[in-house]
């Protein structure tokens, strides 16, 4: 990617600053449009799933033997006689107010249920990504530096297994080994029943809450519940992150500036960790953000295995009871976070990488 000889900027210096600002706002504007479009797409899909695919919701309420005028009245009450675009408009404006309707299963507003379940998933996925990135990045660097060595092979095998193994199965087997046989960790659930009612929930994150209250016994208990599912999720992101780190690092280590740094007599440690990794970090941030989103998704299956009372378990419980409001609400929330992380990764990439900035300016 050779940008060619530098060209003389025809724009006078005093206007240039303004133009740069304009361009920056242009990029931001485009970014917002993309978010908006994607989000409208998400809502359109959930709307389509909820309103169009199933059998007529009116018939589902009144049954197929109801007289004509009852059907018509219910149709009107539900707003189903309006044109589809108007229904969609009403749907979107409700969702934007955080109104997903009422859950049939819990008879709470769906938003309230989600708010209660979310911290559990957040805690799980965050510890998972900390494990995944904390081990995955150094491992990937090591594999790239000692290419073809033992660590490189280990990273390769771990990646292959991570891509091929069903997460829910690995979770079950881990429960059998570490909980039932060895007794190293606590079983399913977030915390033992003993602590459940004495704890004052402030953040909803049990580790933080117990630490704040200074209840270290409860903290240890929560940790021993959390550690197995979190390491499991961590492993799956580790498999991906270490493989990507390796590939980015190989790319960087082949660059000329590494040769230059060596010629200057810099220590190998400094070259690897300060120079090469810093450049590999740019695409890596994107990868980490993406796998964080992937963990939210992976938590659906993991939470089911570990009876973890988070968003994923809420979603699957609602699914099994055909509670469509709850299903669509949870889908929208998870989807929004996923989209947000996706686009955040995109934005980070563009702002972190000086090359993309330079190319933008050159255009």
């Amino acid at each position: 990617m050779d940008p060619g000889p530098p060209q003389r900027d025809p724009i006078p210096a005093d206007v240039r600053g303004d133009l740069r600002l304009l361009r920056a706002s242009n990029v931001l504007g485009r970014f917002l449009v993309v978010i908006l479009l994607t989000y409208v797409g998400l809502l359109a899909v959930t709307f389509f799933i909820g309103r169009v695919i199933p059998i007529d919701p009116v018939l589902a309420i009144v049954g197929d033997r109801a007289p004509e005028h009852v059907v018509a009245r219910v149709r009107e009450e539900l707003g189903l006689n309006k044109p589809l675009w108007e229904q969609f408009y009403i749907y979107v404006s409700k969702v934007l107010q955080g109104d997903f309707g009422t859950s049939v299963l819990t008879s709470n507003p769906v938003m309230q249920d989600i708010r209660r379940a979310f911290p559990a998933t957040f805690e799980l996925a965050t510890l998972g990504i900390v494990i995944g990135a904390g081990i995955g990045v150094p491992l990937g660097v090591w594999a790239a530096v000692r290419r073809g060595g033992v660590v490189d092979q280990v990273v390769r095998v771990m990646g292959l297994i991570g891509y091929s193994i069903p997460i829910f199965w690995l979770g079950l087997m881990a429960l059998v080994v570490f909980y039932a046989r060895l007794g190293w960790v606590a079983g399913p659930g977030r915390i033992d029943v003993v602590y459940e009612y004495t704890l004052v929930s402030v953040t909803g994150l049990l580790l933080l809450d117990t630490a704040r209250a200074g209840e270290w016994q409860a903290f240890a208990n929560a940790m021993s519940h959390l550690i197995l599912p979190a390491s499991l999720l961590g492993y799956f992101s580790l498999a991906y992150i270490s493989r990507m780190t390796r590939s980015f690092m190989l790319n960087e280590l082949a660059q000329e500036y590494v040769v230059a740094a060596r010629a200057k007599g810099l220590s190998e440690t400094r070259i690897i960790w300060r120079h090469a990794l810093r450049n590999a970090m740019v695409p890596l941030v994107t990868v980490i953000a993406l796998s964080y989103g992937g963990l939210l998704e992976g938590s659906v299956l993991t939470e089911t295995v570990f009876a973890w009372p988070g968003l994923g378990l809420y979603l699957t419980n609602s699914l099994q009871n055909a509670d469509m409001n709850a299903v669509l609400g949870a889908t929208i929330v998870v989807g929004s976070i996923f989209i947000g992380l996706n686009l955040l990764a995109d934005l980070l990439y563009q702002t972190l990488d000086p090359r993309t900035r330079a190319i933008k300016r050159a255009r």
Binding site: L160, S164, P166, F168, W169, L175, V176, L315
Partner: protein, 312 residues
Amino acid sequence: MTDNSARNDAVPRESLHEWLMSDRPRSRRQASFGRAYGAWRTFSRNRLAILGLLIVIGLVLTAVFANVLAPYSPYIGDLRTTRLLPPSAAHWFGTDDQGRDILSRIIFGSRITLFVVILVAILAAPIGLAVGTVAGYAGGLLDAALMRITDIFLAFPRLILALAFVAALGPGIENAVLAIAITSWPPYARIARAETLTIRRTDYIAAVQLIGASPWRIVWRHIMPLCLSSVIVRVTLDMAGIILTAAGLGFLGLGAQPPMPEWGAMIANGRLYVLDHWWVAAAPGAAIFVVSLAFNLLGDGMRDALDPKAAK
């Protein structure tokens, strides 16, 4: 070859290898055979890829000859004598809570796995190929619109979207296949579009345009065939993901319904007894792992053979 024999043969006889590896193929057929041969030579050098291929072939054979191979019935067990037996010589993988032989169920389950994988590939790959090539060749507004839709689908979490679709359509293996297909075409569209963008500037496309071929004919006859190999590679690499998603849906009770011997649903069933009777859940999970691994190895090998640029 002595002088004598060379004189006797008017046409110099070449070995099959040379004919296939020829730099100047004399016919279209020779060229395409030659390409396939070259790809196979690269592929067969990769031992792990061969292992993957063998396992996949084994899967197909198992599915075809399930009736012959399975030692017991996959649906009917003896509740009095064979309930929850640990692995033994009579039942290699043990028996489940209904007294059914787990090995036989896994053997029959290979049919379901194969069915899902093939159907998703047949549904999703052509959609992606069509969207990608049309967008890439048409350019302009159509390209922007199609790619925006693709991006929207790419930005969705796949499993969750599939879950929502299945929730609306109702649980069942066909709906699970449909849901997975709906969520897995976008990467193929991206790849096909990228290929099309490089192909459309080539001389031979310009030549075809000069002859007066219609855009549809150009896309269908001259662009799509060239995009096919990279899409096939990507589909093979995705197979593992498709199998895992289908198993996940089955595990959540949204895919294949009991008593079908679907591997994910079998794990869900085994989960109820997992602490005391681990083998009920262990074997089907191992089957999923082996088959997904095989597809990953096969896909890696195919990528190296067909698409040397992407290999890294």
